[in-house]
């Protein structure tokens, strides 16, 4: 399927952005369990600063589980267990004594369904992370504008920052959620199928936002939409579960994955012969 590789190749090729903070995120031998069910086996993956990495694969292959281990959201499921290490700036986020709330400040997350806090206005939503984590900022208005600008929402909402978040359209709400994640200045942003609940127009707007954000931060995006992976990502990792736990089959620069995948299973998947 040449169109996907064309899309991937047509992107402006660029070096790793020097403006990105930190030294990136590394996952080392991640396993995940839900009770007895072994959901994910031995995934090692590096996310260089300033890159966008797309995780693709059929449903139930452990992509979402994987990104939830990265910012320690995995442990909210009572029976969950894991193995391996997640290194942020070289330090294991699962090490004993690590302040988990700080980890989640540094590794932000955007969810599948837009979920602005309903009791707050648009402005309050964006700044809610500061309140939640009790951070101090000198100039809240500047930060508010900056975050909304980066999320590509400023022009649309600048005149109604006092309105409730629920009054926005779905796509706007999702960009509001992105802006909300940006306000606490994370190094890494995880996105769990951020566009699956949105229409194509909104999806394109979010993708633009992702491209712009990637200049300053590391982004990991789970997506079912291969077009989207091809459009936005620098690297793509293919996950698959073959009756056993989910595994990462292959990771490579996006153009390569879509034009000359090394693994037969990847090829089957990206060419649509399976899944």
């Amino acid at each position: 399927m040449s169109s996907l590789s064309d899309v991937a190749n047509a992107k402006v090729q660029r070096a790793v952005s020097p403006r990105a903070q930190g030294t990136g995120l590394e996952a080392r031998g991640i396993h995940a369990w839900f009770g007895k069910h072994h959901a994910l086996a031995d995934v090692s993956l590096d996310f260089a600063p300033g890159t966008v990495t797309a995780l693709i694969g059929p449903s139930g292959c452990g992509k979402s589980t994987f990104i939830r281990t990265l910012n320690r959201m995995h442990e909210f499921i009572p029976s969950a267990a894991m193995a391996g290490e997640v290194l942020l700036d070289g330090k294991d986020v699962y090490a004993p004594g690590v302040d988990v709330t700080k980890i989640r400040l540094q590794i932000g997350m955007v969810f599948q369904k837009p979920n602005p806090f309903p009791s707050m206005t648009i402005g309050e939503n964006v700044l809610s992370g500061l309140k939640l984590a009790q951070l101090k900022v000198e100039n809240k208005d500047d930060l508010l504008e900056e975050c909304l600008e980066r999320a590509g929402l400023w022009k649309e909402v600048k005149d109604r920052l006092g309105a409730h978040g629920g009054s926005l359209s779905g796509g706007q709400q999702q960009r509001l959620c992105i802006a909300r994640s940006l306000a606490v200045k994370p190094q890494v942003l995880l996105m769990d199928e951020p566009c699956s609940a949105l229409d194509p127009g909104s999806t394109l707007r979010i993708e633009e936002t992702i491209r712009q954000l990637s200049e300053t931060m590391t982004i990991v995006i789970v997506t079912h939409n291969m077009q989207q992976a091809a459009r936005v990502s620098d690297y793509t990792a293919f996950f698959l579960s073959d009756n056993g736990p989910g595994e990462m089959i292959e990771v490579a620069p996006t153009a390569e994955i879509f034009s000359r995948p090394k693994d037969k299973r990847t090829e089957d998947y990206v060419t649509g012969r399976f899944g």
Partner: protein, 346 residues
Amino acid sequence: MNEVKPTSPWKPSAKDKLRELVTFFGSMVASFTLVAVTELKGKLAYFVSFVFIYAAISAIYSFRRYGKATAKDSAVKVFIACGALLTIIPIASILQTIISKGYKGIRPNLFLSDMSMATPTDPLTNGGLLHAIVGTIIMIGGALILSVPIGILTALYLTEIKGRFTQPIRFLVQAMSGVPSIVAGLFILSAVVYPITKSSSGFMGSLALSILMIPTVARTSEEVLGLIPQDLREAGTALGGTQWRTVAMIVLPAAKSGLMTAVILGIARIAGETAPLLLLTGGGDRLNFNPFDDPMGSLPFYIWKSFLAGSEEAVTRAWAGLLVLVVVILILFVSARILSTRKVAR
């Protein structure tokens, strides 16, 4: 692939647990010392100083390790846990009192004789509460006969008919569950006893109790019937069943154990009801099997009477009666729990 063992690094380690335990007992010791050296006294002082010391220690530890936000979080955690403890303390105290005071009165003749030949000051070897147990059973039986059909019909209306009265009726059932028991008693008094029977009897008690029981049965049954998948009803109708036959042969049997739970919870609700019985049943001391004539005793009435009589023997009888009553309610309650774990039969 080499074998990897699952781990949960977010769970507290042995060291964390030990530290938690040390903090807990440390705060306890500190609160004891504080009460000993200062002028504070009493259980309240122990509890309050313990809570604040515990919260302070946890907060300081978290602050030094993680910072302000986490410090606040740990302090709040202590307060919330202690608030939760506050609800457990009365329950524990009630159970402890009832067992320690009640067991003295429990003896065989309690279950073999009534109070017709005994006075409140008689030793415990005289008299018993057989009449009260029998009366309670008969009255609950009467209430069951009246309220279970009405309660389940109400639930069926809400889940199967879904007519235009659904919202108002759901609302009224809710309102009815808040009717004070004394009002139910007064109502039967004014509507049945004065104009018709002109005397108190066990059945009057049953009438008042069923008013209190209907809402419990109706609401629990509604919940249970709502859990029956719509597919089942559609399947029944698609097979050519009328609505009546679908409900009778598919829906109700599927909800059987859940409906049992509803009935048991209803019984637990009324078993200890006292106020209406004081107005309506006359509370006789003699064994009486006829609910329609003559005063009838019951456990709550017996407890009430003995407690007010005030003599040492009578109060012991009251506690023994309470122990019997609570054990009965607990048995009902546990069986409801067991049944409700399988609300919908497969």
